[in-house]
């Protein structure tokens, strides 16, 4: 099992293969099309992160040790980037998720997609993933 930092490095090296922006976007579009769709039953109002421009759904499951995230969006590019976020943070403990800095987004030249002005829901998605981690961590410590 790779650490979050190792996954980030892996994504960065994948993106160094692209010479131009169009190849990069074609790859993100492929990722967007391949992300396992969230079951429709999870596409609820409570799992919906409303961006002004695109909608993102995020579900989280905690098995007492690690959190498994699933994500979806109505826009393909948003979904492709959501795929990268899920790939990075899913399968990790709440503590690991809370410590992740997600610096890879900037390094692969997609920072503009995470700016608040784009309002595609991705900024809120990262925030929401961290909130899930915090909530599960708190819950776990209360149970102990």
């Amino acid at each position: 099992m790779m650490t979050i930092a190792e996954k980030e490095e892996q994504i960065i090296s994948e993106f160094t293969l692209f010479d131009d922006w169009m190849d990069k976007y074609n790859y993100i579009i492929d990722l967007g099309k391949s992300l396992p769709m969230i079951d429709d039953k999870f596409k609820t109002e409570s799992n919906l992160i409303k961006g002004c421009q695109s909608r993102v759904w995020l579900s989280a499951e905690y098995d007492g040790k690690i959190i498994t995230f699933k994500g979806d969006s109505d826009a393909v590019i948003t979904k492709g980037i959501a795929n990268l976020l899920v790939r990075t943070l899913s399968g990790h403990t709440p503590d690991e998720i809370l410590e992740a800095d997600m610096g890879f987004v900037d390094k692969i030249g997609l920072k503009e997609h995470l700016s608040p002005t784009r309002s595609n829901g991705l900024v809120s998605m990262i925030k929401q993933m961290k909130l899930y981690a915090l909530a599960y961590k708190t819950k776990a410590s209360l149970n102990n």
Partner: protein, 413 residues
């Protein structure tokens, strides 16, 4: 193509030279700016007017006896006179400066509301309004327990006039509709709508944010009671705009904000308010940008409203034909009377996805709900792509958009 350009005196190449930003490159490609309904670019004349003010005669207005203050006051009040003339307002005291259309509507909603709206009264707006012409009225209705009525829109983006007539009643206290829809481009038949409202003795506010940039507006001919506008959408600076208000209404309306400028005499027992228009302009006004706005108005008149309307209409016709010919494209808003903007969808592609790729071609269009969520809901969509054209745009730029749309289709479909 030249047959589309109506007036041979209209020299697009020389006009484009007036707008320095049109020379910038975006993502290594020449900028194609099709987001004019959001804000327009500024000619050098406007930029020069701002620099000139700040370098030559920056000073606070109305209060100083010194030379610079007099120059600034003359320029600022000259701006009021200019804008009053541009709108053909009967007097400059009926021209109030604000930050723009949004602040104008908020001011009127508050102040008109205080003077004239009571419990159970009705205010009529329409489905195709910008949030700026919805939310201020919702706030007023909450405050006064009044009722908001909404004119429905037909499938082609035209307001249902029969429904409008039926909504008017003795309970109606105000009608507030846009001149031109920012999301669809529909030009409303406002002269007729005002006439019908007046038959019921109901005043009418026109949200002219998208109206004034595209053609001559005459508030006396329209016979409207309020006409709100934004400077930055008519090639002027951001942060300045205003509205025309009918004198007899303005006189009965209480001030919106308190402070300097808007008072005549202040004691702790009682304050008396200044005359119009100052009653509605608390605090130091936006002097520089009002002066910049004059330069914009002069510039537009120099180009000629007729030339602007003809060229923009030619761009609209050309782009509409090209998009329809392309296939796989749905245009939202097909009113026969339409301003130079097109809201559209590439079938099967999310507007944000398409907009992201189109941006990489150096083309600026807008994607999203265009601050008109109820309208998007009416059409069962979450958003559109919007290309909005100005008189400085060219047919070749529309060709570039078509090329970019083809690429989008290749990538997503």
């Amino acid at each position: 193509m030249s047959t589309l350009v109506a007036n041979p005196s209209f020299d697009i190449a020389s006009i484009r030279k007036d707008f320095p930003i049109l020379n910038v490159e975006v993502h290594g490609k020449p900028l194609v700016y099709f987001d004019n309904a959001a804000t327009t670019q500024k000619p050098q004349q406007v930029i020069d007017a701002l620099v000139d003010y700040y370098t030559q005669y920056n000073s606070n207005v109305h209060r100083g006896v010194h030379h610079l203050s007099q120059l600034a006051t003359e320029a600022y009040e000259g701006a009021r006179l200019k804008m009053a003339k541009l709108l053909n307002a009967p007097s400059p005291s009926e021209l109030i400066f604000t930050r723009g259309t949004t602040e104008s509507i908020n001011l009127i909603a508050f102040s008109f509301g205080e003077a004239f709206i009571n419990e159970g009264d009705e205010i009529i707006i329409s489905t195709i309004e910008h949030h700026s012409n919805i939310v201020p009225w919702q706030l007023l209705c909450q405050r006064k327990k009044a009722v908001l009525k909404v004119i429905p829109v037909l499938d082609n983006g035209v307001l249902d006039q029969d429904a409008y007539h039926n909504l008017l009643s003795e309970r109606t206290k105000l009608v507030s509709v846009c001149h031109i829809s920012n999301a669809l481009g529909t030009i409303n038949p406002i002269a007729d709508m005002i006439k019908v409202a007046h038959q019921h003795k109901v005043p009418v506010l026109i949200d002219g944010a998208q109206g004034l940039p595209h053609g001559k507006v005459d508030v006396q001919e329209l016979d409207c009671d309020f006409y709100c506008f934004s400077g930055h959408k008519m090639y002027g600076p951001t942060g300045i705009g205003g509205f025309y208000g009918r004198l007899e209404l303005l006189e009965q309306m209480p001030p919106y904000q308190g402070g300097g400028e808007m008072i005549k005499e202040v004691t702790f027992a009682k304050t008396t308010f200044n005359d119009l228009p100052y009653k509605f302009e608390a605090g130091t006004p936006n002097i520089a940008d009002a002066i910049g706005l004059v330069a914009a108005a002069d510039y537009l008149e120099g180009i000629g409203w007729d030339n602007i309307e003809k060229h923009e209409h030619a761009l609209l016709t050309y782009a509409t034909e090209k998009l329809l010919k392309e296939g796989g494209i749905t245009i939202i808003g097909t009113s026969p009377d339409k301003a130079s903007l097109i809201s559209f969808l590439i079938d099967g592609v999310h507007p944000l996805d398409a907009g992201t790729i189109i941006d990489h071609f150096g083309i600026a269009i807008r994607t999203g709900n265009h601050c008109a969520q109820p309208l998007m809901e009416r059409f069962g969509i979450t958003g559109t792509m919007r290309a909005s054209f100005s008189f400085y745009n060219t047919f070749e730029e529309i060709d570039s958009l078509i090329t970019a749309i083809r690429k989008v289709k290749q990538m997503f479909l």
